[in-house]
Amino acid sequence: MSEDKEIQKAVGHYLEKVAAELTNVSPDEKDSILQGVESHIYEALEKRSSGAPTAADLDFVLAEMAPPHSYAQAGGIPSPETGPAPGAKVPRSAIIGAILVPFVFLMMLLVAPLVNASWAAGLKLALIFVVPAAAVSTILGFNAISKIRASKGRLRGMPLAVAVAFVYPVIAFDLLFVWCAQVLGEATVWPNRGYEAFVPVAAVLALALDVLIFWAAWRWVSPKPARTAENQVPRKFCKYALIGAAFAPFGIALLILYVTNPSLIHLGYMFPIRILGVLSPVVTLVFGLMGISAIRASNGRLIGLPLSVGLVLLDMLVLLDGFIIYVMCRETTNIARQLPDGWPIALTVATATVVTLVSVTWISIWVPRALWRWASRPLAAGEFT
């Protein structure tokens, strides 16, 4: 075997050992590390040997380098805990809270007949027994949540803790919601139908909101994903989009004035609005396009793409839809005037209206969709470089 091949084999053997230790990095990182180490070995060999490197040179270089097992800690910083460690315990506060929950339900059932018999007696019992027990259960649930969150995996039972912490606030919310809905319904929507008709609707709505509340609570308590390089960078709102947005209201104001009360436009104090309003379509279009371009080139550091697209759309849609409506109105009027006697004018106008509405709707859906796709398309190779 030639010296070169022997060196290559020995390097390969060393790299295999390093690769075996790189268990806590992604395949891409692993490749990158191995390429770096391989290159490093040959650089060191070149520095050591005056001519062609020998196996002895390689032995010396490898002996000088860090042993393969030292790569086991590659990356240096361990990933954050994502779940409970083996043997993790459920906090006592969650268990006591969970025991209290059925107990409070039982008390509620016992108090309920008294509420029907006498409001005062029922309320008194509820205030003495049910409310404090529910409050204690809720406090224990929140206490368990904070303990589990702070334990970094040494405690488990988060679903139980969330259920205990939120069950009574959610029930209280449901009762309040149904009561408010009933009062509101009786007062406004169904004045004469009241409780029986309105409560089931409100209850279904309350249940849907309960699902949302528990979902939000679960998101709140769940571990947050590790911060990546992308979201560590402070994101700024694109200035071009903001400038364009500042001009847009003047154009809209001028258009509204033109349609509703054109005589106002020519008043002296309206001069600034007149100038800014006339400039507005060009400024919003140009700054909208500049915004799209800047945001695309920023590699995630600028935000405001929907606003930039909206600014470009504002002009395009007003012009296109306005043009269609104007042409259709004018032509329909002309046609209606020239129709022979006995021709159904109403049918003609109705047909023209439907055609106009369909055209305007189609354009108002298709143009924004196409523009958004264009603005949010992936960067092409070499674009903005």
Partner: protein, 111 residues
Amino acid sequence: MNEWITQLRKGLLEFCILNFLARGENYGYEIVQQLAAIEELAVTESTVYPILARLSKDGYLKVRVGPSPQGPPRRYFSLTVLGRHRVSEMNGYWDELNGSIERLRAALKGG
């Protein structure tokens, strides 16, 4: 004491690599050699290359492949815009932290 030094080195190595590359692009071997000169950091290839790989993956470094006199091509590392931003933030924080610690030590010595 040893554990504290190990943890401190781990945190500082990324800071040193980014600052080293702020001067301009360089390849792995040279980075290891230069940083190994700082004895207190106890730099080896097994600490530098994983950090270089992670910083590249996270978008702080870009890699350019260039010719090498022997063996595989050299991989030149340089800071991206994101990397420059990060090193500037890290330097700012380091200055503040260092200043505060120095003031604390001076106050303790004086008192």
